[in-house]
């Protein structure tokens, strides 16, 4: 059997699982960008976003020995991150106010299609927004999103379809209105 050479990232994950904190630091430095982007798109408020990312880093470190397959490190990390973000939302019982959306008022006047789309995405329910972010922006597959969210693939597809319907409706309403 041909022996496949492990990449430096795979080696780092294997080392981190055995308790090598330097290897873990190298991985997190690489993953920090998308962790921030996802957390930012769910939580919006800077302090919450930071809390979400920091807690995820600590949890990931502590739970790393339980990771069953190194190949799924990224989806596993996103799963921890999303659970953490949802936990923050749940604790605060903070519901994103549609009228208080950060990019709703002044940017909307700019009437750019892209700003309108961004606004419509921000107005989606958390579950629907998360699926859009993971599928379109983080390029995760249906099965990966299903793992991240702990839901069946069918639910992911139906949420994605509902999210797209809502986005289409929001954008057509805007054009019509």
């Amino acid at each position: 059997m041909k022996r496949v050479e492990k990449s430096s990232r795979e080696k780092d994950i294997a080392l981190a699982r055995k308790g090598d904190d330097r290897a873990f630091s190298r991985i997190i430095e690489e993953e920090l960008v998308y962790m921030y982007r996802i957390s930012n798109s769910i939580l919006h408020r800077e302090a919450d976003v930071e809390d979400g990312v920091q807690e995820t880093v600590i949890k990931a470190w502590r739970q790393l020995p339980t990771l069953k397959d190194d190949r799924y490190f990224k989806t596993w990390l996103i799963r921890i991150l999303i659970n953490q973000c949802n936990e923050i939302l749940r604790k605060q019982k903070r519901i994103v106010l549609m009228d208080e959306n950060p990019c709703a008022s002044e940017e909307f006047a700019d009437s750019s299609d892209r700003i309108a789309l961004k606004d419509a995405i921000n107005r989606l329910d958390n579950e629907l927004r998360t699926v859009i972010i993971l599928y379109y922006f983080e390029d995760l597959s249906y099965s990966e999103i299903a793992y991240v969210l702990g839901t069946p693939e069918g639910t992911v597809k139906s949420r994605l379809s509902r999210a797209k319907n809502k986005l289409n409706k929001a954008l057509s309403d805007r054009i019509g209105g």
Partner: protein
Amino acid sequence: MKNLEDALRLEKESYENVQVPQQLTRKVGSILDNLPPQRKSCSLWTRKLVAAAAVLLIISSMLYHQVPSKMRSMLKEAFNSIPKRGTEKDIKKGALPVKENQYHPVVLAFKDPEGQFSRVVVLGGSKDGKWYSINDFKMAGKYIAFADFPYNEGQDFRNYVDLDLVKGNEVYNFYARRKLAGKSKGEKPILSVPQSAPKKILEVKIDTLKADDDFLIGINGGWNGLPRVPTFFSGLNGCTVDLESDGIEETVYSQIISGNLKVFLEKNGGGILIKEVPKELVDVMQTPKIRVLDINGDGKLEIIIVLKNSYETTVEAYQYVNNTLEKVLSYYVGE
């Protein structure tokens, strides 16, 4: 906008341009420099060995009849209480025990100060496909005036009343959010009238029941109240479930819009506003509790909304059939 897919691809560019703030990079760097001890995990072989030992122990105990019968019955009851995923067969099976010409009361139990469930209020009920509120019944007997709802231990709670809806000795199946929490038998009802509210309240003392939830909904009827188990989301106050058993999931959730609380029912991307509470009342209100449960045994799930604050409690049940929403039961008590 030409096409949503194209637009999302364009939006991805701006999403990817988001930079991690330096402040966060510094904070994470500090965490990485001071990582706590990592959790040790058992090796795969150790875990397999422990699991095999547990299985062997259980099998050998059962073979030698060393599991006490009480424990066996408890295990059986626990297993039976796990709601099964809904199928067409389950629904038909669930609908069978609805007895004709018999009232099926629906009750609500709040946790008492001792952390258990010992009394319920009657929300109403159904019979032969029709809904009934307690005002539809003539009641014979005394009632307690100026009752301090719901726990007035000093009052004489033996002022029972007679009515057709609840005769006493009914066994209620009490449901939590996603499962059957337990069964309990009720006494005859007690009629009370709270201060400043000329509304009748029917309370029933039940055999004490313990459960983790804040409140339980009880049904007197043999059917499965949860033929399809809802999915509740941690980030959303609401749940998703196929209410009508038509293969399409509905989502019921609450949201604050312009300060007002709104409860929506969403299906296929379209939404219906179920209930709206003005912002003046929202400030002192707890987050609304949303439940779904088949409370009349027709195999379809009703939506139950519980709104509560320090002064008042409102409970409303809605039936959703053929894309039409109808309020079927309501209960209110307040100062």
